[in-house]
């Protein structure tokens, strides 16, 4: 079976029921995507399938054969970080950092779809990603700043990130 991960083809020979998460981590060797709960509750394993954020711990590889899979390793260009990643550093968002690949991938999917998301839209898109260190305020601020920069606009209220 051939998977397309971050624009590269990978031939894998495992049980087609194997969750995508473990193939990404163990066969593709891309360990930025994390295991957190195994039941789609925490979002640590979030990747994109054709640009849509999904939980790879629940997705068997047989369901993704013809789709474009994007992981945290696949959103930067060869020479520079993606805007979201750069702003994550600028705002010093991560603490332990374990959930942040999933957070960034979810944020990336949101901003691809919604140019200048409202607080409610951010909550909705990001509430599937748990952060045990409580970096939520900085995540929200980071998304707003990234949205502004990507849209070349400055219309967002940066004050209340609760």
């Amino acid at each position: 079976m051939i998977l397309k991960i971050n624009n590269q083809s990978l031939e894998v020979d495992v049980d087609p029921a194997t969750p995508l998460l473990w193939v990404i981590r163990e066969q593709a060797g891309l360990t930025g995507t994390k295991f957190g709960c195994g039941i789609g509750q925490c979002g640590s394993c979030t990747v994109q399938l054709d640009g849509v954020a999904i939980r790879s711990c629940l997705t068997p590889i047989q369901a993704v054969a013809d789709k474009e899979i994007t992981t945290i390793e696949g959103i930067a260009s060869e020479t520079e970080l993606h805007t979201i990643q750069r702003i994550w550093i600028q705002e010093q968002v991560p603490q332990c950092g374990y959930c942040q690949s999933g957070q960034i991938i979810s944020a990336h999917a949101l901003l691809t779809k919604t140019t200048l998301p409202t607080d409610e839209e951010i909550d909705q898109a990001m509430s599937g990603n748990i952060c045990r260190c409580g970096t939520y305020s900085r995540i929200k601020k980071g998304i707003k700043l990234a949205a502004e920069e990507l849209a070349g606009a400055s219309t967002i209220n940066l004050e209340n990130n609760g």
Partner: protein, 740 residues
Amino acid sequence: MGKWTRRAFITTGILTGGALVVGIAIRPGNRAGKVKDLIAGEGDTVLNIWLKVNADNTITVIVPHAEMGQGVHTTLPMMLADEMDADWETITMLEAPGNAEYANYAMAKGFIMGPKDIPSMLIGTVDGFFLTATKQISLQMTGGSASVRFTGMLAMRVAGAAARAVLLEAASEKWEVALEELVVKNSTISHPPSNRTEPFASFVAKAASLSQPAKPRLKTTEEFTIMGTSPPRFDIPSKVDGTANFGIDVTLPNMKYAAIKASPVFGARAKPLDAGAIKDMPGVHKIVNLEGAVAVIADGYWLAKKAINELPIEFDKSDHDTVGMNDIYDQYLRDMDVAVADGKEEKDVKKGNINKIFKEATNIIEAEYRVPYLAHATMEPMNCTALVKEDGCEIWVGSQNPLGFANSVAEELDLDQEKVLVHNHYLGGGFGRRSVPDVAIQAALIAKEVDYPVKLIWSREDDIRQDHYREANISRFKASLTDEGQIIAWNNQFLFKHDPEEAPHIPYGVENQFIHYTNSETHIPWGYWRSVDSSMHAFFTESFMDELAFKANKDPYLFRREHLTNAPRYLKVLDLAAGKANWGEDLPAGWGRGISLHQSFGTIVAQVAEIEIIENDLKVHRVVCVADPGFAFHPDGFTAQMESGIVFGLTAALYGEITIENGAVKQSNFHDYQMLRINENPKIETYIVTSDNWPGGAGEPSTPGIAPAVANAIFNASGIRIRELPFKNHELKANTGLLG
């Protein structure tokens, strides 16, 4: 484990009869030679165990603590670099290896001696004593909010200043000029009169041969150039592009994966499984029978997990198979009653005479509070990779105590501690959980059965059900108020006492106090959980203070104020919190405000929560947090820790509840052990108060105060007094008029 706290040091005999025993301690002097092979490359000069100056004039700071998001890999180098007058841009860090030479003497010294001024001639002896002691108990702990306030203050700053002193001495000798004429800045030494400037690297060879002062002059706050600023953390870039290497990310040649099934009832034995049980499972290689668990090794984790789920694993009966929460609470209450009846309370604080007051008092208020067991639920489930060979063992793990892990694994495998090499990684959350070596021991025992490396990963279910828990507890209060509304007697009984020592103590001026506790052993494993005893005592004492304020017919903030006349440091923090939170200003219907004040790990924190009750739902809108840590060495990091601790404490207050049924933990994953999510995140405002006090911690002190602030706000909004956590178990309704 659990040997690293002040109380534990006392019980392990480091302190005897209140006196420090130092007579036979070694004077270690400069141990640079002992660690050279561990940390230095070619051309690097190890000036002392905490730093090396590299050939290119960059400086590497050795940090004996694990990075779990608290920023210690950045803040400790800042402390050393500032005292050394090093160029921050050229600083790199290296986490200290899990080696006995990096046993944490400074942490033990800080816990035991605090900010005592020790004469120069005794410092070597005292440090030598603590080094010997911490080596003996294999202590290299990250915890107790201790890294900055003890390792930073007692090791890093001293090491930086001492290195600066010998570099200056070397420059003075080389140039044959007076020390006083030299200027140090950005890793260079200048002699303005002769217009000479050279980098540290020019003097380092000579400096390394000089004896470093045990008590070098440290900078005053006004002289800081790096401390007190917020440079970007070193660990963050790798945490945004997927390259950060957590324990679970280790990949080794020929590595295989293990999953495990452990006895749901703690302490019960697993029935050994026949090796042939996996014969029809392709890719599954081996069954390993452990005492309380069975593990399988397979080509991939998912295969291993699938196999362990399918195998018929059974456990022996144990004495605890029927234990439930009611049994535990009944036992607690019985033991508390018996202790009081027999006069066998463990005394914590005894002041004045409460019995005399209660005998004569008319205004007596009593209340009983409860909190449940809590799991840590670090985002990265427990895991460890091990490779065991005939003559030694290597483990790859994220640990809060690498040296302790090495020691535990060595004991289990019957090896010398030096034969266990621990590769420590970033921790995907610690919160106290990663100070327990259980998973490392399991991984080593599994890997011992094969000749390739094995990565053991616990499922989230294993993680929730095989934790070492913050205990369930009961706290009983009895207090008396004068006619003027002053607290005149305070009686508080609870269960167990760990750390911090002052967790159940109150800052308020109450003349007659009896604070005491009772032990009541259960089969549930206990562990350090972010802020430890303070995680519940702030809820107990600060909720009860609110009850007393209500009985005294006083505003809860002003009532606290009146009891803080002799505690100006607390008063300042409380006043600022009330001011920033617009205390006293009107709120919409259904909203409420609550206040709390608690000191833990050397930092005083006041919080004001603003909440709304909508139908039966609780929404925490805003939290004002004022903290006095003495000094915040990395203010942005300190602020991040305040936010983090509040979310952690609020999660527990809203949802956190581990229940025991039939001897085992009922909850299993995030659907029934719920976490606060971004849509529930309050707006948190942090204000830092600087004072002249010895620095306090950052990782834990904001966790305790959020539960009582919210509980008091609920009372303010609804008249409902919550005496048992979590909030989710309570019916809430705004403005019921049921005040009291």
